[in-house]
Subunit: 245 residues, 2 copies
Amino acid sequence: MDTPANTVTAAIVVIGDEILSGRTQDTNSGDIARALGAVGIDVTEIRVVSDEEPAIVEAVNALRAQNSYVFTCGGIGPTHDDKTADAIAAAFGVGIDFDERAIAMMRERFPNPADLNEGRMRMTRIPFGAELIANSVSKAPGFHIGNVFVMAGVPSIMRAMLAEVVPLLRSGVPTSSESLRADIKEGDLAMPLAALQKQHPSVSIGSYPFNDGDRYGSNLVLRSRDTHALADAMAAVEAMLKTLT
Amino acid sequence: MDTPANTVTAAIVVIGDEILSGRTQDTNSGDIARALGAVGIDVTEIRVVSDEEPAIVEAVNALRAQNSYVFTCGGIGPTHDDKTADAIAAAFGVGIDFDERAIAMMRERFPNPADLNEGRMRMTRIPFGAELIANSVSKAPGFHIGNVFVMAGVPSIMRAMLAEVVPLLRSGVPTSSESLRADIKEGDLAMPLAALQKQHPSVSIGSYPFNDGDRYGSNLVLRSRDTHALADAMAAVEAMLKTLT
């Protein structure tokens, strides 16, 4: 598929041992990818890393150099195993300290000073130079620095932060897609499909096998930023499938 | 948590634009992580990359240098968008060609030569020096070369290949885990929990917030390869929680 020079790209870093161990299923990366896709931003890579600072620093620094944006989720809570804010400060080589803007947000939720304890105060530590991301669910903010957006791991809070963030982004031309389900095995359509891919270079033609019990078939997904080219390719695929059935 | 020198580690590379776009939810990485965890192999990183050869090569080469094993899933089907076998050959700097062992496996499923067409024959292209991984579901094999295991993306086929692969691996000491649900907000247990983490360095204590409607609480997960240390830490956490309620 064409990737013009002005393509806007993003990578996602999911932080958490619970995802790596397979105990918790990550759903945040899919939510982020769909929200970005809707404004024409292509996700090029997703990395799931451990709660350890070196792993976070390495992933964020590699990916922020290669993409328009990086989105992280996880590791900004009050407990000792939340190390993302320190890791981001280390990745950018800046200091980190309690942030008055973040403290003010937390005071809205915890007006009694006794409730704004040492653990919750950890959530107001923000790398120098970062802007905050509001959290309409539970107040403790995310932040962004450079091209990196740091969000919570709890899905409802991540989604609230994502809604704040998306309007700040440079958007691209959204990719349109069309899909169809063919009751034809991939092995029987692979060669004609490859020929169509060559004839329609501005359209990405993907094939994903399925099986329902004994039946095998192919889900075909066509994607392009050019809607006319997409329609032409879709018509060609439909005509090809008719020759096979 | 202790990571002794003889720790066995793995990374997972999930290959496919459909995961990156958020249209398809990856479940293979969780299945692989749980199967490896059961034999004491720690997953250190999961990367989701596009169907493009350079992206696959970069991820596989970075991760195979850092881990005991790398597992890939996706991109070994018959269609033009399946590029994993070529990418693995490129990553290892070896050639790739039709493999007699793989052709024999495919002939079991497609005894009629007309059915073993050009598309299906693509699935018998195996990098030089690789060993095959049997596929009890649909015959087209995976393969392993060096410390990299290449499996299908269709979950039922991936699981069948994984069952073939796990007995081949050097296993580690499994990590035991205990979890408990505390109806206490993370902010209220963060500091005592951090103190317990310091006192129990051979146990990894993780805290994961939850909210059910208006109720917030914390899922605590304790993990260790030392079952006695785990029991001690669990008792200490339970005693600490009693002081808070």
